[in-house]
Amino acid sequence: MLNFVDTVGEAVAGIKDGSTVMIGGFGNAGQPFELIDALMDCGATGLTVVNNNAGQGDQGLALLIKEGRVKKMICSFPRQSDSWHFDAKFRAGEIELELVPQGNLAERIRAAGAGIGGFFTPTGYGTMLAEGKETRILDGRGQVFETPIHADVALIKAFTADGKGNLVYRKTARNFGPIMAAAAKHTIVQVSGIVPTGGLDPEIIVTPGIYVNSIVKVA
């Protein structure tokens, strides 16, 4: 069921310790900062977080990592110039890392939402990121077997929602939002605006409301 809630605190209140949480965004674009802050405040810990990166600077995901609330990161690009909190935890052996090529990350998230049990891809074949994974030759190319990434919760940022929970995004802030919304059991969305049902052209909707559970407007 779809709920419109008034605060980010209400939106994330149900997130339990030990959850797998997908967090949208690529760099700062599409990152649901307010929802991440609310996740920080709500106290859930032992989290597995799926995000392209592993936090930047001293805010958002970086802060969650700093405070020891993230048990494991599944991401493609943890090392950035300002990813010092992740770096410190990783070097201290206090956080687990599953490093995934970015396209495999996207496709594995998409597979979870689309009911695919696993797939073969050339990406990563013959590299250390395929070590221990099943491989086979298909279409004349070496390919690696990859499995879906499901999540308990997705935290994403969209631009506008309508009364049915349909979403549109803005520019490259779209990135992981649509596929994470489909892959998670419970999808929480922060939006810049809400319009009445019928206020979005059915042809331009990117995420249909079927994938959305909670919506909160963030100023």
């Binding site: 695919i116 349909n166 019928g198 059915p202 079927i210």
Partner: protein, 234 residues
């Protein structure tokens, strides 16, 4: 007749809830009332599409059609008819406020990814453990056509079947093991027929209610062991 509404179990008055077998429209009305408010539903093609006639606006049900739409409205008439807006049965339909369009892979991802609460399908046969046969008679000269039946049967959270209990020859379509080619294994959770509503699952068949017959009379028509549903079983 009195029909059960909103997923309630058999009334204390007994498992028989109608004096006569139900007609197709009464059955469609019953299915419609059993769909929980806010559900996302696919009504397949043929008989199950009758259910849409009995959905109440306050139920806030969103209909999905496999050919790329959520928020499908009633059949189009007159000037509403638009060749670019059809349902899975290729019948012109309308668009409700809040509808959305998407391509075929995205549409089937909705079905296959387990996002639909309910699909309602017709059937040739349903087995005691919920196997479904609804796409192929297996006749040697038949040209098979499967469409989206297997995706719906496999993907929806709940698969409801609507069918007459008996063939024209009087043979039960609820069977121990399907003799027709399967659509999906163990996928059907409820079977709505003119004679009874059955709950199927790994533990066999429960009867939620009967129409125009007693449980004993029903058992005489059906070659699988039946038991009355417990209050919690519906």
């Amino acid at each position: 007749m009195s029909v059960q509404s909103n997923d309630q179990t058999a009334s204390p008055a007994g498992i028989r809830t109608s004096e006569k077998p139900l007609g197709r429209d009464d059955l469609a009305r019953l299915v419609a009332r059993d769909i929980k408010p806010g559900s996302f539903v696919n009504l397949g093609i043929g008989q199950p599409t009758l259910v849409s006639n009995y959905l109440e606006p306050e139920q806030d049900i969103t209909l999905h059609t496999e050919n790329g739409m959520l928020g499908m409205g009633p059949e189009a008439t007159g000037d509403q008819i638009d060749g670019d807006l059809i349902n899975a049965g290729k019948i012109p339909v309308t668009e409700l406020p809040g509808a959305s369009y998407f391509h075929h892979a995205d549409s089937f991802a909705i079905m296959r990814g387990g996002h639909l609460d309910i699909c309602v399908l017709g059937a040739f046969q349903v087995s005691a453990t919920g196997d479904l046969a609804n796409w192929h008679t297996g006749a040697p000269d038949a040209i098979p056509a499967v469409g989206g039946a297997m995706d719906l049967a496999t993907g929806a959270k709940d698969v409801f079947v609507m069918m007459t209990l008996l063939t024209r020859e009087g043979i039960s379509k609820l069977v121990e093991t399907c003799s027709y080619p399967l659509t999906g294994i163990g996928c059907v959770t409820r079977v709505y027929t003119d004679r009874a509503v059955f709950l199927t699952g790994p533990d066999g068949v429960e009867v939620r209610e009967t129409f125009g017959c007693t449980l004993e009379e029903l058992q005489d028509m059906v070659p699988v062991p039946l038991r009355a549903a417990s209050a919690a079983g519906s």
